[in-house]
Symmetry: C2
Subunit: 79 residues, 2 copies
């Protein structure tokens, strides 16, 4: 099943969040982003900007490049 | 001089574009993004979304994680 990059990025965020045993609510609080936006990013429906990716990565205690590396792996694996 | 992450990301895009000896016009064409948007991203004024970052990386023959690694280095170096 083809996965588009936004969906792959969302899965990478969810993967990291669950690795840290955080709820979406906790990630939203920690990243100062709206809960609905975090859930939209994870579903691949919200298009996270550079600034939001930075906030998400900080809240997930990693770097944006880590999230993108995971997203690229998910994207490649689904092709 | 503090550099915010959006400015650092823009510099990473410009660095890679000049490495490839591409003009902004050529990068805009190759990425199917507007020239004004590409120039705004490079100046750190336009906030590139996941989808745009993917298009820029493809046009720059690299992965989004490469752009982000460069941005993170620029950001850290400027702190």
């Amino acid at each position: 099943m083809r996965v588009d990059i936004q969906v792959a990025f969302g899965r990478a965020v969810k993967l990291r969040r669950t690795e840290l045993d955080l709820s979406q609510e906790e990630l939203a609080d920690a990243s100062t982003l709206a809960r609905s936006f975090v859930s939209g990013v994870e579903r691949g429906e919200s298009n996270a900007s550079t600034a939001s990716v930075w906030k998400l990565a900080k809240a997930l205690n990693c770097m944006p490049s880590d999230l993108w590396l995971a997203a690229e792996r998910i994207y490649q694996a689904a092709r």
